[in-house]
């Protein structure tokens, strides 16, 4: 079972997990990652998420293919929101389901690293009061984290 969505609306983690696990008795481990918008100590009011419609879905699908090729997964779900997202709100959701916990943990970690560096989304910061602080700069650590997976079997 596989689910991919690029959407403006919030997602429902419990519902998504239920979709992946309902009626199954071969899943031993479910890992979820939820990314939230931080206010950076009250500085930020919201993040505006711009994306490349079409390519976002295709690239996320390719990243999911790669996760499925690397680990035995019984289910995975990736949801990425776009539009204006207030501090405290959800941005991204990854769920992985497997017989064993290692596969579920590693696949979720991998998916997040790859989404960060490959999925065509860009964040713009909005301050309290309505001014923008401009676009978030990509972090070198994120590229390094994604590169970790390259040499692994």
């Amino acid at each position: 079972m596989r689910r991919l969505s690029v959407q403006a609306d919030p997602f429902d983690l419990a519902h998504e997990i239920q979709q992946l696990t309902q009626g199954r008795t071969d899943i031993g481990a479910v890992v979820s990652f939820t990314g939230l918008c931080r206010s950076e100590g009250g500085l930020l009011e919201a993040l505006e998420l711009e994306h490349f419609p079409g390519m976002a879905e295709e690239e996320m699908g390719r990243v999911m293919d790669e996760a499925e090729a690397r680990w035995p997964l019984q289910g995975l779900c990736v949801i990425h929101r776009f539009g204006m997202i207030k501090a405290g709100e959800q941005i991204v959701l990854v769920i992985t389901a497997s017989a064993h916990r290692d596969a579920a943990f590693q696949a979720a970690d991998f998916l997040m690293d790859y989404l960060k560096t490959r999925a065509p989304f860009w964040k713009k910061e909005w301050q309290q009061g309505g001014d923008t602080r401009g676009w978030v700069e990509a972090k070198k650590e994120d590229v390094a984290k994604a590169d970790r997976w390259r040499d692994k079997p």
Partner: protein, 87 residues
């Protein structure tokens, strides 16, 4: 015979270019992704600003990430954007 491609811009590349997309008749001497970036940088002020540091701008050809030296060949759509910051 000149060929047309659709060009898409995202995030600050879009803002600096002052447009989200355009259709361009590709000049004969523009063969690769980086040729096209160089052409846009020379074309006008907006392009000079957007591609001021061409090493930073990323590209996708028909919705797939590609390195700068990639030939345009039969691609119908090319997108330019900053390094991604989703997730």
């Amino acid at each position: 015979m000149t060929r047309s491609v659709k060009i898409l811009y995202f995030a600050w590349v879009r803002e600096r270019m002052g447009r989200a997309e355009e259709v361009l008749a590709v000049p004969d001497d523009v063969l690769t992704v980086e040729d096209l970036a160089r052409f846009l940088a020379r074309r006008d002020e907006e392009g000079a600003h957007a591609f001021a540091n061409p090493a930073i701008v990323r590209a996708a050809l028909d919705r797939r990430h590609v390195p700068p030296h990639t030939p345009l060949q039969t691609a119908t759509e090319i997108a330019f954007f900053p390094p991604m910051t989703g997730g």
